[in-house]
């Protein structure tokens, strides 16, 4: 486990993010956001959190409901597991239904490594801050900029959109009760049809036309892992991902799939990358590399690099966040 790490923080090295908000904004107020795990996004979309605050910021709010997220693994580093852990923990904290599939024999064991919500010690100081702010008389033109900050500072434990997770402590047992968690092993399946059926029945629980939106999560780890029998049937895997994408688009869920691109043929890897709505890759960094230490500040704390290649564009042509960012994981 990660002894040295507590929270996953992502530092952006390249460009600074400046989300361009459109001049047209919906009249939905913040108060109508009754469901804690979801947030309204631009263009009629809804977001759910990835579990890492900095990643949510890079994505412009979180993962869009109905999108397919693909994470390109680096075979030399387990950072994709970090992303999966935070994603799954966030879902469990918000009581969102979850399916987890992996090539391990006993995938339920992975649930034991999910991090718990960090108890923030500075609730008091934050309350103090907001009181101080009320003392300031802000001109009405500038109140709209402060609106975002205020909504972020509403810390209330479970009703937070994105929690900080403490990787050193496992998630409390009471989050695991309930029938909304399903763990599937991909190891002994000759093909993906049974898993596909499980996913489609799961996704039918959260259809798009439903008035009561919950938000479901599907997490598939290491899809093209060589231990699975279907790993050399590339077209089967591709058609599975494609049909999963179409099922997810019609539902109010997010599916995240991690795969190691070096283990599949380059053409197939490209096809998988094109299928993704949001594409992220994680990369290992060499240890004790003096060149890199000179080039990057904070090299000592860094464990890996995260690159954003594509961000989901649903109902829009224009992104309000910049793509092609590389950030470091600490």
């Amino acid at each position: 486990m990660f002894d040295e790490m507590r929270i996953v923080k992502i530092y952006i090295h390249m460009a600074a993010i400046r989300p361009r908000s459109s001049s047209f904004s919906r009249s939905t107020s913040v108060a109508s956001n009754a469901v804690p795990g979801l947030k309204h996004g631009p263009n009629g979309t809804m977001f759910l959190s990835s579990g890492i605050q900095d990643l949510d910021k890079i994505l412009g709010g979180g993962f869009t409901l109905g999108s397919l997220v693909m994470v390109m693994e680096d075979p030399e580093a387990p950072h994709h597991m970090l992303l999966l852990r935070n994603f799954m923990s966030q879902g469990l904290v918000h009581h969102q239904p979850l399916i987890y599939a992996s090539p391990a024999k006993d995938p339920r064991g992975f649930l034991g490594t999910l991090p718990s919500v960090m108890v923030s010690k500075d609730d008091k100081s934050r309350a103090h801050e907001s009181e101080q702010e009320k003392g300031l008389r802000i001109a009405w033109q500038y109140k709209k900029y402060f609106g975002e900050q205020n909504s972020d500072s509403q810390r209330d434990g479970k009703s937070e959109y994105c929690c900080d997770f403490d990787l050193r402590k496992p998630l409390e047992r009471h989050f695991f009760t309930g029938k909304h968690i399903d763990c599937i092993t991909l190891k002994d399946s000759a093909d993906l049809t049974t898993f596909h059926d499980r996913c489609s029945s799961f996704l039918s629980q959260t259809p798009r036309t439903d008035g009561n939106v919950i938000g479901g999560r599907i997490a598939i780890q290491s899809l093209c892992s060589p231990q699975c029998e279907f790993s050399d049937k590339e077209w089967d895997m591709l058609s599975f991902v494609r049909s999963l994408k179409s099922l997810v688009r019609l539902s109010n869920s997010v599916a995240i799939i991690t795969f190691p691109p070096s283990l599949v043929s380059p053409a197939f890897s490209k096809r998988l990358q094109h299928l993704a709505d949001t594409l992220v890759s994680v990369k290992a960094i060499p240890d004790e590399d003096k060149e890199l230490a000179k080039l990057l500040t904070g090299y000592q704390d860094m464990v890996g690099l995260l690159s954003m290649h594509k961000v989901a564009r649903i109902n829009t042509q224009v992104l309000n966040v910049s793509s092609d960012l590389t950030s470091s994981l600490k």
Binding site: F2, S231, S307
Partner: protein, 369 residues
């Protein structure tokens, strides 16, 4: 570095974690990996026999070399093989991997003249059935380590041989099952990477936590073999090589280490890398449209540039204030102010920088292009 690897394997894995797995690979240009394999085997044997290791024994799956070879090798290193079979067990997949010989013996066509080896535990007659192989490995290991918490090392001589008979996914499944088994302390195997497709090699590297590759020290200048210098280089590559190790650390960083190895009659020797071989680290900074790095010449030139506030004191005539050169002057003044804050001085900031000196004229008229 070789010692470091052996120590890491000796220490094994923690409870609940996957066992460390080492892949030793080479190519035809420098085929010395079998010596490395033997070296690791003998080091681990010595650790086990002196009770310094987490594991109690070694299960060796012999596919490309006969168990007799191992018996003689370990004897030559001074390890007692014949009398104490309680620390090493060999699964013989070399003598009769597909069961043809036993079929012929059964039908009476040939006589079984093979004396066998005292070190052999069991003869494997069907290398294609990897589930069976897995259970025989675990069985032999349990005999060595006891059923409880005892652990054992698994060594596979030449996964390349295994890949001749079965698919990559079944070999990968076998390796992953071994790694995740509670009683396996560590695992190492040999692979000749140029015998397989890159995908197969990549899949096996994915299953490992440490990669040790043997590479040639000197590559021939061009592909032609006829040249005598190239021949001697090639001969050298059969005796010396570069030993590169990549370790996947727990925190996600990758550690790379290099050594030189040299094989002679007495065995294999490792030495720290000589300074001639420079490691070129791959740049991880993403390519941007403009050049962020400076070349040597550019670095030198940059060092030579005299900045404006540096040269006002060295005897040159001070620049006469002109409305447009206020930047230089401003810097000089501020710089001097900072330096001489101890003395009493009149600090006067020109505020005439803001006003346009000749407002009805176009300042660009002065440019002579």
């Amino acid at each position: 570095m070789a010692e470091w690897i052996c120590r890491t394997l000796r220490d094994g894995g923690l409870e609940g974690e996957h066992a460390p797995a080492l892949i030793i690979k080479d190519t035809i240009r420098c085929p010395l990996s079998s010596f490395v394999f033997d070296h690791v085997l003998s080091q681990l044997s010595s650790f086990i026999l002196s009770n310094k290791s987490q594991s109690k024994g070694i299960v060796l799956v012999a596919l490309s070399r006969s168990p007799l070879y191992y018996q003689q090798f370990l004897k030559s290193k001074g390890y007692d093989v014949v009398d104490s079979p309680c620390w090493i067990k060999v699964l013989d997949c070399y003598s009769d991997p597909l069961g043809w010989k036993s079929k012929l013996v059964e039908s009476g066509s040939i006589l079984n003249r093979d004396p066998g080896s005292s070190i052999t535990t069991s003869l494997c007659k069907n290398v294609r059935d990897l589930d069976n192989l897995f259970s025989s490995i675990i069985e032999s290991g349990k005999e060595l380590a006891g059923d409880g918490k005892g652990r054992f090392v698994v060594a596979i001589d030449s996964v390349s041989e295994m890949l001749r008979h079965t698919t990559v996914s079944s070999v990968a499944a076998l390796l992953s099952n071994l790694r995740s088994h509670d009683q396996v302390s560590c695992l190492f195997w040999l692979l000749h990477s140029d015998l397989h497709e890159t995908r197969a090699t990549a899949a096996l590297e994915y299953m490992s936590s440490m990669q040790a590759s043997v590479e040639p020290m000197a590559l021939p200048a061009n592909g032609q073999i006829g040249n005598s210098m190239n021949l001697s280089l090639m001969e050298q590559n059969f005796r010396r090589g570069k030993f590169c190790v990549r370790v996947k650390r727990r925190n996600g960083r990758v550690r790379m280490m290099f050594e030189e190895l040299c094989v002679d009659i007495s065995g294999i020797k490792f030495a720290p890398v000589s300074s001639e071989d420079n490691v070129i680290a791959q740049s991880l900074v993403p390519k941007v449209q403009f050049n962020l790095q400076l070349s040597e010449k550019e670095l030198n030139d940059r060092a030579k540039v005299v900045l404006p506030f540096e040269h006002q004191d060295n005897g040159k005539t001070t620049q006469i204030y002109d409305g447009r050169k206020s930047l230089n002057e401003g810097e000089t003044e501020i710089h001097e102010k900072v330096n001489s804050s101890g003395k009493g001085e009149i600090i006067y900031f020109r505020d005439s920088d803001d006003e346009m000196p000749d407002s009805d004229e176009d300042p660009d008229d002065d440019l002579d292009i």
